[in-house]
Every structure is written in structure tokens, then in C-alpha cells.
Symmetry: C2
Subunit: 366 residues, 2 copies
């Protein structure tokens, strides 16, 4: 059982309870990608044995972190899965392989492609927030403009809430809701004479809804599984450069990050571990020479696609992407309203996987 | 650092001391093949970085368990080593891939090929020991015949000491000492009229030397690293069948073995784990499709060769073996007295490895 199952499968908790498992690093220590892969190997092998289905082909499927695991599982356990569909899997967003601003650059492009004026408004809003915050009663003025449920304690609260709003809107910029367009429409169509902050507030309102807006609590928490993973091995260095995004500069600072993790969990992040364990700088050589039957699927509106595999590596390690798709979109349940390009992306993936299964069966039969 | 380094590298002990590390399963838990491979990956990567030798080719080399690790390292970390020399690596001696009697059958063949009469004497000796042991004062009679340093407590002590003597003689049946021939010469050339037990005692004397013979303590110990490994994942099921070896029947009994391990360490062996982690039943498919640049070297007098890879799997996963060689012989320092076939085995291995390195350099240069 991996840690993701803890919350739902109370009977098979490895350490008694989620609460106990999160107590300290000695139980959390098993919460790693390597352990997850080994658990999958054990689980699939046992399941197939118990179901007398030893010859049944197995395909690893996952999105985001799960997509990384799917591709790594095929790489490390080719005898257990005959293929992998790795959706929105930023396996190259480690070390210095992908530029740190990869993610916010795509967010920025998503907004700019949707509306140049929306992009400009957002870009200008940060210094405007800083300017107002510095006024007497500035924070309460900002609280009023943005209709915060509780009075703001700092302008950072507001800025990071807005940043996450833009990040999430871009990451899940899915049809038919198209949150970036929705947000930009509200910003662009604010009443004549509305100032920058009023426009941004209109965007927030359109995204979150009235009557008031909770500020996101962005502080990393020692009760959060993903924080544990980023504090150990999944160190994805995302940062805004000086003038390359619509956000304020905030480069990824490993020293700061390390101090935070040491404070939260008493562990020191290992930023080079993922590339050591799975390769990275030479991923094309690793995947080209030692892997087969992997689909890396991406939507280019997904900011994580910046760290994804977007080129075919070999005849059987394939990149399937769409211009318009966002994060893990191909894995969602098909809907009647799905656009053609999404239907087609899923069909392509299914056909490739059917080919793997046919080949697997042919090999077993011969 | 892996556990093997504990005894020698006191400055880098992961758990304070060997004594502390062996206290219980929570520290011993890191003593696993998977952890060893991950440690190698980290160590090699760091070493290369620190020495500014990132482009230096790395070859994994190991014998016996270390040979298994070498081949598995190439399988799981192809981006870190460009090839592996796996000497006497019985990677197929898990689950039911290799017959349980594989090892003692080779021991038997080694003795029979050396001397039919020696083989017959050994084969007959077990029931003779049992017969004498059952007599009044039988044990003290056996103690006298075999010149044991301490009086025997049971005939099992004697029989298992002799069994291990034959095992070890076959496993390390190396020139120029040729322990099997040495042992059989003593058995065969005992003075006219010497009975079976007297002949075996002469063999023991020739192998161990006078004046008296300690009985091996074969009991599994909770202070022994290899016992921990066999009690967790390295479950190699070696057993004597009914009439197929020169030994008394003693099939591998997983239930007994499990009880022993639970008593020693409080852990339950996982006999299917190695094949789950590294493949096994379909090893040809795994190594053929997902590996390259591995030499499996063996000497066919080595009883562990029964679980080794003795066929070429592909153009670059190669079996290099000799009829006469024994356990890990090719890894020993060359000596002037080495026979031609051993010199030739090493030359073949070196030439293959030189080819890997040349190819690695050519790829980097292009």
C-alpha cells in the first residue's frame, strides 16, 4: 500500500493511521517514489497471481506525479507492465534540466494568448498592490477592494492567493469551463473606468464567486503529503525570473526551501536524487535505449508541460500532445462536449496501447 | 554506504556502529539489495561530480551476491554504469526457476568427475555415520575417528561439517590448489583396509589439517549479514533431493526457514520479492529487451553456476563460462600459474568491456 491509499483504506494502513504515519520521518520515510513503485510491483504481481491472471497484460496509467510514476514504473519494472501512459508528467522538471521559469512562462503565455490586455493588467497589478499596501490603512483598503473574508495581514497573502489563482486557472484551463478565458473576460470587461486592482478583483470574483474571498493558506504544512515529497525527493525548482513572466520576480531558493523543510519535517531535500534514480540529463538515451512502450501525453496550456517529454524518443516512446489541452485532461472521463482535438488525442493513445497489448499477446502466443 | 562497508569504514557508519545496526529490523531494514543499488547510484554520481569526471565510463563489477548486484545495477541504472561484469551471479536461483537441488547436484558432479570411488565413499558415509552414532558410545567413537577438537554433541554436527566441507571445496575448486582433487586423493589413497569413515576422516585431515578438527557452527546467527539477507529477500532455496546427490535428502523447507528467521530477527522472508523486483521467470525477455552490456561469467564447477545465466541473451548480454572454473575465479588477481582457459576467460571479458568503453566514448564524442 502506498501513502496515497492511507486516507481511504483504513484497514491496510501500514502505520496504524494517517496521523501516526505523519508523526515523523521514520514512518514518513517509506513515502517515496521508489517505495511506491515497489509497492505497485508487489501489488500487481500478487493480484495477477491471486486472480490466475499471470498472462494478463498490465498498463501503467497516471497523471502528474502519478504520470511520472507510470513512466518510471515501465522503466524500472518492464517485466510487470507492458506499457505506460504518462499524462502531464514533468519528469524533466528536476535539477537544471528545465529552466526554473518554465512553469510561470507557460502560465504567462496562456494568459497573453487569451488576452493581451488581461495579461498587461495582471502584470501591472503587483506593484499596484505594493503601492496601495504601503499607504496608511493600505491593507484594509486592499481587503475591501478584494472582498477578503478576513482582514489581510499582509500584501503577500493577497499576492500569493492571486498567483495561485492564475497558476491553477492555467493548469486546469479545460473546456468547457476555460477558466483563463473566464477570468480574463471578467478582467477585460470590468465597467468603464475601473482601475487595475478593481479589474483584478472582478477576475477573482468571477473565478471564486461572491460574497467574500478566502485567502489561500499557502504555507507548506507538515501534514501535507505533497509537501513531504517535495521536501525529500520531488524537488521541482519553479521560480519566476526577473522580467520573463507576468509575475513578480521570485527565483527558486534552495537554501530557503531547505530551511523550511528542515523546520517542518527535520529532513533535508535531496535535489539531485530523482535524476540519480531515474536519469534526467541523459533521459533521451535512457528512454531510447532502455525503455519502450511509453506515451508521454501533454496539453501545451499546462504549465507542467514545460518539464514534460514533448518529442518522440523512439518508435515506441512517444510524445502525444495537443496545443490546447491542460493538466491531465486526457485522463478525465470523456464528455459529449469534448472538443475534437481531445477526442482525437484519446483515440491516438488508445490505439497505441491496443498495439502494445496485441504485441504482448502475440509474443506470449508464439 | 552499504552494510558491507560498515565493518571497515567506521567513520561512515549509517547507524553509529555495526552493533547498533544489527540491533533490530528497523535499522537492518536498510540492508537490502535495492538500497545497495541506490547507494551505488548516489556514490558513483557524487564521486564523478566531485572528481569532475562526469563523462568517465563506469563498469559495475561484482562476484556472487555482488555479481547479482552488478547485473541488477546495469538493469536498473543504465544511465550510471555503461556495463556490468557479473561473476558467479546466481540470479536465477530464486522462486522455482532453478531446481532446488541445482547446487548439490553440481557439487556431486564435481566429486564424481574427479573420482568415482571418492564420490561413492562420500555417498555411503552418511548412513555409516548414522549407524555408528546409534551404537553405545557411538558419538565418542565418531569424535575419535574424526579427531574433533571437542566431543561431538550430535551426529548432525559432524554431518553438516562434512557437507559444508564438500560444498566449499566444490565452490572454490580453484587451481592450483584444486581442493576437490586434494580431498578425493586423501580419501582414495587411504591405507589399505581403511573403512569408509576412516577414509572420510583422512579427507577431512587433508583439507583442514591436523591435529584436531573444529566442527563448523552452521547455526544461522542474528549477527550475520548474509543470514539477514537470506531471511528477508535473498531466499535461495537450496535443498538435496531423494536420490540425486551424494548427500542425504534434505529438501528446502520454507516453513522451517521462516520460523528460524522469525526467531532470529522477527522478520518473515519474502521468497518472491527478488523475482518481483528484478524479473526472473521471464529474465530472458527482461534482459533481452531492456538490458545491454552485461557479462555473466561462470565456472561450471561452481555449484552456484546452476542458478547462473549460461546462454547469450542478446548481442550484448553475454554468457562467458569455462568448464573448469569455480566461484568468482575470474575476479581473483591473475597469477603466473593460471591455466590457459582462465587467462583466456579474463581476456575475453576485458575485450568485451573495452568494446563497451570504446562505444561509450564514440557516442559521447559524436
Amino acid at each position: 500500500m502506498n501513502y496515497y491509499s492511507i486516507a481511504t483504506m483504513r484497514d491496510s494502513m501500514p502505520f496504524g493511521s494517517e496521523y501516526e504515519a505523519f508523526q515523523n520521518a521514520s514512518t514518513l520515510g517509506f513515502f517515496s517514489s521508489t517505495q511506491a513503485l515497489a509497492d505497485y510491483a508487489q501489488l500487481i504481481t500478487d493480484l495477477k497471481r491471486n486472480l490466475s491472471a499471470e498472462n494478463c497484460p498490465t498498463i501503467a496509467v497516471g497523471g502528474s506525479y502519478g504520470g511520472m510514476l507510470a513512466s518510471w514504473f515501465r522503466l524500472k519494472y518492464p517485466h510487470i507492465s507492458c506499457g505506460a501512459l504518462a499524462s502531464s508528467a514533468p519528469i524533466l522538471y528536476f535539477d537544471d534540466i528545465t529552466p526554473q521559469n518554465g512553469y510561470p512562462v507557460v502560465v504567462t503565455k496562456d494568459f497573453r494568448d487569451t488576452s493581451e490586455s488581461c495579461y498587461n493588467t495582471i502584470r501591472q497589478s503587483w506593484s499596484e498592490i505594493d503601492r496601495v499596501a504601503a499607504e496608511p490603512n493600505g491593507l484594509s483598503k486592499l481587503s475591501q477592494i478584494f472582498a477578503t473574508c478576513l482582514p489581510l495581514n499582509s500584501s503577500e497573502e493577497l499576492k500569493s492567493t492571486l498567483e495561485v489563482l492564475f497558476w491553477v486557472s492555467a493548469q486546469y484551463d479545460n473546456p468547457p469551463d476555460n477558466p483563463v478565458e473566464n477570468l480574463c473576460n471578467a478582467i477585460d470587461r470590468a465597467a468603464e473606468g475601473t482601475d487595475i486592482l478593481g479589474k483584478i478583483a472582478a477576475g477573482l470574483n468571477a473565478s471564486i464567486g461572491p460574497p467574500c474571498h478566502d485567502m489561500f493558506d499557502l504555507k507548506p504544512s507538515n501534514k501535507d503529503g505533497w509537501t513531504w515529497q517535495t521536501c525529500t525527493e520531488m524537488v521541482i525548482p519553479i521560480g519566476n525570473g526577473d522580467n520573463d513572466t507576468m509575475f513578480q520576480p521570485s527565483p527558486f531558493d534552495l537554501n530557503n526551501f531547505t530551511r523550511t523543510c528542515e523546520g517542518l519535517f527535520g529532513v533535508t531535500p535531496r535535489p539531485h536524487w530523482i535524476t540519480t534514480e531515474f536519469g534526467g540529463h541523459d533521459i533521451k538515451s535512457v528512454l531510447g535505449n532502455f525503455a519502450s512502450n511509453i506515451i508521454f501525453s501533454n496539453g501545451l496550456r499546462d504549465p507542467y508541460s514545460a518539464g514534460g517529454v514533448l518529442q518522440n524518443i523512439s518508435d515506441t516512446v512517444l510524445a502525444v500532445y495537443t496545443e490546447k489541452g491542460a493538466h491531465c485532461l486526457d485522463l478525465l472521463t470523456p464528455m459529449a462536449s469534448d472538443p475534437d482535438w481531445l477526442v482525437s488525442q484519446r483515440d491516438t493513445e488508445i490505439k497505441i496501447i491496443q498495439g502494445w497489448i496485441a504485441e504482448y499477446r502475440a509474443t506470449r502466443a508464439s
